[in-house]
């Protein structure tokens, strides 16, 4: 097993233990739910990491035309969507008990939902081509645009209006509660751990697809 897989396991176990047990700042409204920063927030960081990884492979595909780059781009988008849905749903659970409703049309909620739809459109777009070469090229271009749409949607637009989301609503960057060293000592390892888990899932899915293709071409060779 690769070293980074071990690192992922260690960081995730540390996140669970430290995230639930360590002392956290006492803040109104957030109360104990401040611990969501170690679980809900890394879903989004993991998603951004995976979509960024995907875009990097799409750029590489356009430069060199290696089909592996194209399939890595798809698999990271697939896992990224899983992370994004986890982020949205956990955010809704939190909003139900903090804001009073599952969905209150907060700019942060709306913008992240639009971001998810853009990536779902990528998956739908992939299914609408007959030629594999054409699919890979056009979807790679779409993927690059999608990433550069996602960044303003998640990080800029919610800050321009009044979002109730912690750390938003006119506040640039992180809020004072993020800067607390007690939170940081778990939050940063948590982000790395969850992102590595996403990377691991992506690589596994990609290897599975590759072995499946190898098997199919081997079968064709047997019949020939």
């Amino acid at each position: 097993m690769n070293w980074w897989k071990w690192l992922c396991v260690v960081l995730l176990m540390y996140t669970v233990l430290g995230g639930l047990l360590f002392d956290v700042p006492r803040l109104g409204i957030l109360n104990e739910s401040i611990r969501n920063i170690h679980f809900h927030v890394p879903m989004w960081f993991g998603m951004i990491f995976l979509f960024g990884f995907s875009m990097w492979h799409s750029i590489n595909y356009l430069r060199k035309g290696n089909p592996d780059s194209d399939s890595l781009a798809v698999e990271s988008v697939n896992v990224g969507i899983v992370f994004g849905v986890a982020g949205l749903v956990t955010g809704m659970v939190w909003a139900r008990y903090t804001w009073g409703d599952w969905w209150s049309g907060d700019p942060k909620q709306n913008a992240s939902a639009i971001g998810m739809l853009i990536y779902l459109a990528y998956i739908v777009l992939r299914g609408s081509f007959d030629s594999a070469d054409q699919r890979a090229r056009i979807c790679a271009v779409f993927n690059i645009f999608a990433f550069f749409l996602l960044i303003p949607l998640l990080f800029i637009l919610p800050r321009l209006t009044d979002s109730l989301h912690p750390g938003n609503g006119g506040n640039p960057g992180f809020n004072s509660y993020d800067l607390d060293s007690r939170l940081r000592s778990v939050f940063y390892p948590a982000v790395v751990g969850w992102s590595l888990l996403g990377y691991w899932m992506t690589i596994s899915a990609w290897r599975f697809k590759k072995v499946k293709q190898a098997f199919e071409s081997w079968q064709i060779d047997q019949h020939a």
């Binding site: 047990l21 803040l27 899932m201 596994s204 072995v211 081997w218």
Partner: protein, 70 residues
């Protein structure tokens, strides 16, 4: 002097904020930690086993391809 007073006030305000102190005091929080820890470990174990199965398949496929070539 004023700073000290403000600090004391801030501490008093923080103590009033409701946290799961009882859950921590009676030690039941460790039950939650054990449950979440188990779930995460089992999921990782599943991923590790899946990873090994894929590695085996990859080896098998490359062997078959070598046989076909020879």
């Amino acid at each position: 002097m004023i700073n000290n007073l403000l600090w004391i006030l801030a501490q008093a305000a923080q103590a009033n904020i409701e946290m799961a102190d009882a859950l921590r005091a009676d030690g039941k929080i460790y039950v939650v930690v054990a449950v979440v820890g188990l779930i995460v470990s089992l999921m990782i174990l599943y991923l590790v086993r899946l990873d090994k199965k894929i590695s085996l398949l990859e080896k098998e496929m490359s062997n078959r391809k070598l046989e076909n070539q020879s």
